[in-house]
């Protein structure tokens, strides 16, 4: 979090892009957008544009990487060089490595890995354009792509962040709120039978009180349920779903 100085992020009870505190950015989901992959999803969440391909369950090479009792899940979060203002050098940096780890762990917790010993399930995520919250956008898309690939799962993952800006908690922060805000809290929830059961991903940096933190969890759960409905809709229709909350 950078210290905002003069920047005011909330004016007249509204956010800079006109959203209410608990409002999501526009979302767009397309299922099955790639031919070669076993499952795929294109997702926009605000200015984030991400594509996810799922390959597998398939054979793992070299063999010593296999697990004899369950499938090995790989998750590769990668940013295209042109996805950010200043060109990013190709290849993984420390941030990508960490995001890949926690995102993989979130999915590992819900994929029924035990059904596919010695196999690999690869989730490849390309961020074509990045805004705040790209890791949450990617997880939402990954969850849909896994369903599209027919990978058995215990439920779905829906993911969204909450930020603290100008002393207020706001849902699904965009870039300015992330950059100048006082805290950023990305969440991913495990959803089964249309209800949130538990937390699959949780990171946080910034500065909040315990009460604010608890309030943020509630806000994130509410947002995640709305995202979940769109994911479900997209999977069912196998077609483009765009959020009705869209503003532009």
């Amino acid at each position: 979090m950078s210290n905002k100085d003069e920047v005011r992020l909330i004016v007249d009870g509204k956010r800079l892009d006109g959203r209410a505190f608990d409002e999501l950015r526009p979302i767009k989901i397309k299922v099955g957008v790639l031919k070669r992959a076993d499952g795929s999803c294109y997702l926009e969440m605000g200015k984030n544009k991400v594509v996810v391909a799922v390959y597998g369950p398939r054979e793992v090479h070299p063999r010593h990487l296999q697990d004899p009792v369950k499938a090995v899940v790989r998750y590769r979060y990668n940013m295209a060089p042109f996805s950010v203002e200043e060109r990013k050098r190709p290849g993984p940096d420390r941030r990508s490595v960490e995001i890949s780890k926690v995102s993989r762990e979130a999915l590992e917790a819900i994929v029924m890995k035990e059904l596919f010993p010695r196999s690999g399930i690869d989730v490849f995520v390309e961020v074509l354009q990045a805004d705040a919250g790209s890791r949450t956008a990617c997880l939402n898309a990954a969850s849909v792509a896994l369903v599209d690939a027919g990978v058995p799962m215990k439920g779905m993952i829906s993911s969204v962040a909450v930020a603290k800006v100008d002393g207020e908690l706001v849902l699904d922060p965009m870039k300015e709120e992330d950059f100048y805000g006082e805290a950023d809290m990305p969440f991913a929830f495990f959803i089964r039978n249309d209800r949130i059961e538990s937390i699959a991903l949780l990171q946080m940096d910034g500065r909040v009180t315990k009460d604010e933190f608890i309030k943020a969890v509630k806000m994130a759960k509410d947002g995640a349920m709305r995202i979940y409905k769109m994911q479900k809709e997209a999977i069912k229709s196998k077609y483009v779903v765009e959020s009705e909350e869209e503003v532009d």
Binding site: R36, R76, N78, F82, S83, E86, R87, F124, L128
Partner: protein, 259 residues
């Protein structure tokens, strides 16, 4: 193993069809799949394009920033072309630094743009000998259903056509459109047995890896050629391929003009 057998069967099927004068998807030997070009899809990039040739999809994004010119061309901007065959695009691509295939892809696309002098590099000087514009052409394959080469080349020139030089962001004057003055088009032919077909799909590529890419400019000049694959090429067939490449490039160039 199972996979290998399936590959063998499909290869035989492809080759059998070709012997009968047909392609498995019903196209003529010199017929492209449907080409779609969409530009400006990445707002944060200076220019961008998504090109689909059949199910093959490639995104190219252009980023620009000021930098030092090469000592031997103090009066010219610099183009840097890079390709990533990210594992998303194909079950056979692996994460890691560029392999010889992505290096070749990037370099052949680069030569088409460079040798046709598609971008007027002399207009990209900020301060002669000191500061020029660097133009990064980043090729990002999304779905490899064959002929990434032509899709990448088309996406690259489409993205350049769509590019605005971000002078304001760097506080060096007003933004202006990137000066593009030629439209190089790459046409890849695939040699199967005694014949060649343009725009191979993935099944055809799996049947043999013998390609030749001929890039021509708006005046039908040849600006880049790359024979790729472990095969011996007949001289007469080469001339036929060049003929066909010029013809198909003219057709595909029309699509660029509609962008």
């Amino acid at each position: 193993m199972g996979d290998d057998i399936i590959l063998d069967i499909r290869r035989d099927y492809v080759l059998g069809k070709i012997r009968d004068g047909e392609r498995i998807d019903g196209r003529a030997f010199d017929e492209y799949r449907k080409i779609e070009i969409e530009t400006g899809i990445i707002e944060k990039a200076e220019g961008s394009a998504l090109v689909k040739i059949g199910d093959t999809q490639v995104v190219v994004g252009i980023k620009m920033q000021p930098g030092e010119p090469f000592p031997d061309t103090p009066d010219k901007g610099i183009i840097i072309t890079n390709a990533e065959l990210v594992p998303l695009a194909s079950p056979t691509f692996e994460p890691g630094p560029p392999d010889e295939n992505s290096v070749e892809l990037a370099r052949v696309v680069d030569r088409g743009i460079r040798e046709s002098e598609a971008v007027d590099l002399s207009k990209l000087v900020i301060e002669e000998g000191e500061k020029v514009w660097l133009v990064f052409i980043d090729i990002h394959a999304l779905d490899d259903d064959g002929n990434l080469m032509d899709a990448s080349a088309l996406a690259a020139i489409s993205a350049l056509l769509n590019t605005t030089v971000p002078a304001e962001r760097f506080e060096i004057g007003d933004d202006f459109p990137l000066p593009v003055r030629d439209l190089p088009v790459a046409v890849t032919s695939h040699i199967i047995g005694n014949v060649f077909v343009v725009d191979p799909n993935k099944d055809e590529e799996n049947a043999s890896k013998n390609f030749i890419t001929v890039t021509t400019d708006s005046d039908d000049n040849i600006v880049a050629v790359q024979k790729s694959g472990s095969y011996l090429l007949d001289e007469e067939k080469l001339y036929q391929i060049i003929e066909t490449s010029i013809k198909k490039a003219r057709e595909n160039r029309k699509l660029l003009k509609e962008v």
